[in-house]
Amino acid sequence: MSTGTPMPHEAALELAQRAFALADGDEVEVLAAVERSALTRFANNRIHQNVAERASSVSVRVVIGTRQGVAATDLTGDDALARCCARAREAALRAPEDPSFPGLPAPVAAAPSAPARPSFDLDAFDADARADAAAAIIAQSAERGLTAAGTVSASVAGVAVVNSRGIRSAATRGAARATVLSMDDSGGSGWASWLGADPTALPADSLGDRAALLAQRSAGAQPLEPGVYPVVLAPDAVADLVDFLGYTSFGARDYHERRSFVALHEGEQLFPESLTIVDDALHPAAIGLPFDYEGVPRRRVALVDRGRPAAVVTDSYWAAKLGRENTGHALPAPNPYGPLPLDLAIEPGDATIDEMIAGIERGVYVTRFHYVNVEDPVSVLLTGMTRDGAFLIEDGRLTKPLANARFTQSVVEALKGLVAIGRDRELIGTEGGGSTLVPALALAAWRFTGSTA
């Protein structure tokens, strides 16, 4: 940021406080965000979409008794903010009483300390810098007669939460991300991605190289006979599974409704002891906010602790309803989804990917999945496709490239057969803007149910 320009979280806090001063209710909460983002998108070896956005937003929650109303706007003038506050009040006045509403959260006395993260300078990763990175990624494919597509993006957001109980939380979150798909004319393709808080660390050349190498190796892919195989899942593939676990299983609402396997197996030794899944926005490698959208500090939560389903994340409403600690995982109000983990991680193991592959006589290596969806939330039965680099493993080595294959598999069942966890973790960006910090996994059984070829 240039000298004299407020940091994004300072601008967000100022905006939140302006709206807060205009709101009228027994209790008031204001969530404000001030964001700049840019995305350089390439396909067919040229930048075809190059976009940037500056936006502010304010969301006001007014509480009258136990009745709540929420209104939002991206207009930041005082008149617009006043209209927004009035709409929230009007909604609260019309809402029925909600005896289960515990009140807005109060400041936490002993909050976990947030890690110091480098301030993110979007101006230093401008359109020219992003174009340089994209060009470097593209060159790795183009020089080998391949076609590259992907993104180089960056965003910086200041987020602030102010409420009438005394919460004043503000932080700046910044991240850069790059993705690359490399394709050859015969249908081979490879993928690589990178996410981090420091765009100067983006390894454009090596990222482009990784994807291009995979594309070259996956040329001439053959169909996989449907069946159950041992698999090695690269971090990008693991990230999809963890993302769906978070969505289906680790939130307090679905736990309460007994739609989560955690509710059915809490405390049981369901998985091998080597498996620990946490949500940890405060991890040095994570990029999440140190507080949730109610301004409550995010706590590290061991969701699966040494193989035992152990906990779910909460917000103020669900913590009170379940009689549990508020873990600081609220989404913006009103929130029909309940609290969700946004910074999931699997604790690392001690295996290298080569060691995992070496331990499999006949199996499948998966670079990433595509278009995964839930068929059954309780067992986390997912279906989706492999994409951009799946290989047959024979006698401990990658042998033949495989055409895209469909799987239909319960993640809960698959993790019961966890064989090995990678020692190196990667931060993978999710579609929803969150991230997961995950290693590769070796699983004893994965059900492939079809093939594109």
Binding site: L75, D98, A149, H370, R406, E431
Partner: protein, 480 residues
């Protein structure tokens, strides 16, 4: 709004844009939801902003801002030009656009009763009554009722002289009943899953859904699912209801015929297509019963408008005619790449997004069958209703769908209820196996308000007209 787009275009030209188009979009929305006896959300929002897209040095750039002050608007225009020039470093040839007339016009969607004029008390009363009616069934553990309203007003202008003002209103509503046993969730929704039915209309459309009147049947079916049989693992005949057919069309015909996907511009995220540009007019997509039309003029549909977000007039055209590929959904740029005129499908999800090739109302035309007669004509198979899960590969070939409910068909009659049925297939083989489509009496336009595409992600509101249809030799009961 007109002044803002004019100022943006002026600033872009001064900055060196060879072409520029600006959109100011104002949206107002409201969402109310009730869940298991509790009003869990009453929320409204308003948004207003500018997006400006330019061509400079032969490449595209786009910038958006919610600050509509004169300085911010000019800065956005300059940034768009800068972005275009940075992109141009990777271009070998300049952007080419298919010709389109510079139109000056207005278009307004139909809406009888403005949903924002209806008292909040009335909306809450409707949802609470519907949700309570679901809870009358004792085994139903989780209940939901929701209502969405959206009002959009936008002004588009270009340096070619276009000036178009459009507005429309959308509503959506639905109810859901879930029976949760240990280890199983059984769901029934009405009028559709994933938020209900969504249309371009007013409050009158919400009332016409009769959520309260349908709630007892929905809850009863959810309860009955707890005693239903699992889906057999088999290869058999399936009849899909209209709402599931809408999603089948969406995923396996709509997306693969988006010309930007065909040309590779969406490769890294949404994927490409099994269809090639050269296949136009020759590719056998399905059986002779398969006739698919894209129609942005369909009244009351989420996929309707007067002009797309490049200012191209709304059109109706064939996508598949008698089973043969007949057209692509296209923008000015993608159409120019194959030497054709734009089919008017460039749509942006808001002021802060560029237009992408999107579906409009992409519909399977009705056939001649009555549904009862079609079931009676089916010796052995499964009738499936209401989507619960969807997945398809990056070329739109290998798909798998799951539905909320099914029924055996034995000897031309519906038999036992089936829980969580699913089916899978390969797009051209599946459509080639279509041997019957039900008549116009069973045909309905289904709104799809959650179509994701692009980076940054855009969520488009599209629609599909469909009637129940029959397919032979379909693999069902995958991993059941």
């Amino acid at each position: 709004m007109r002044d803002i787009v004019a100022a943006a275009l002026d600033a872009a030209e001064v900055a060196g844009a060879a072409y520029a188009e600006a959109r100011v979009v104002s949206e107002r929305s409201e969402r109310i939801s009730v869940r298991t006896g509790r009003v869990d959300g009453i929320a409204s929002s308003e948004t207003l902003g500018l997006g400006i897209r330019v061509i400079a040095d032969g490449a595209w750039g786009f910038a958006a801002t919610s600050d509509l002050g004169a300085g911010a608007v000019a800065a956005a225009a300059r940034e768009a030009v800068w972005l275009a020039r940075a992109a141009a470093r990777t271009w070998q040839a300049p952007v080419r656009l298919a010709d389109s007339p510079a139109v000056r016009d207005e278009w307004h969607g139909r809406c009888e009763v403005d949903p924002f004029s209806v008292a909040l008390d009335d909306k809450l009363a409707l949802l609470i009554a519907a949700e309570e009616a679901l809870r009358a069934e004792p085994s139903v553990r989780v209940t939901e009722a929701s209502l969405d309203a959206l009002s959009v007003r936008k002004v588009f202008a270009s340096t070619a002289g276009a000036l178009i003002e459009q507005s429309h209103t959308e509503v959506g509503a639905g109810i859901v009943a879930r029976v949760v046993t240990d280890g199983e969730v059984l769901t029934r929704s009405y009028p559709n899953s994933h938020g209900g039915q969504h249309v371009q209309a007013g409050w009158e459309a919400v009332l016409a859904m009769d959520l309260v009147g349908n709630a007892p049947r929905v809850a009863e079916q959810a309860a009955a699912l707890a005693h239903a049989i699992p889906c057999p693992s088999d290869t058999t005949t399936v009849i899909l209801d209209g709402s599931q057919m809408a999603l089948q069309v969406h995923e396996s015909i709509g997306h693969p015929t988006e010309l930007d996907r065909v040309l590779g511009d969406e490769a890294a995220f949404a994927g490409t297509s099994w269809v090639r540009a050269a296949d136009l007019g020759t590719l056998r997509y399905g059986s002779e019963h398969v006739n698919v039309v894209a129609d942005a003029t369909t009244p009351g549909s989420l996929g309707s408008f007067g002009y797309d977000d490049e200012g191209v007039p709304a059109q109706r055209f064939d996508v598949v005619r008698e089973g043969v590929l007949a057209g692509f959904l296209s923008s000015r740029e993608s159409a120019a790449a194959i030497g054709r005129a734009s089919t008017g499908c460039a749509r942006a999800s808001g002021w802060n997004r560029i237009p992408l090739v999107r579906m409009t109302t992409v519909s399977l035309e009705p056939g001649a069958w009555d549904l009862d007669a079609l079931i009676a004509d089916t010796d052995d198979g499964i009738l499936m209703e209401t989507n619960s899960s969807w997945s398809i590969d990056d070329k739109r070939l290998n798909f798998q769908f799951a539905c909320e409910i099914g029924w055996e068909i034995k000897g031309g009659k519906l038999g036992r209820m089936i829980k969580n049925p699913n089916y899978t297939g390969i797009t051209p083989q599946f459509w080639a196996s279509c041997d019957a489509v039900c008549s116009a009496a069973h045909w309905q336009v289904w709104g799809v308000p959650n179509c994701g595409k692009g980076e940054p992600m855009q969520v488009a509101h599209v629609a599909h007209g469909a009637a129940p249809a029959r397919f032979r030799n379909v693999q069902v009961g995958v991993a059941r």
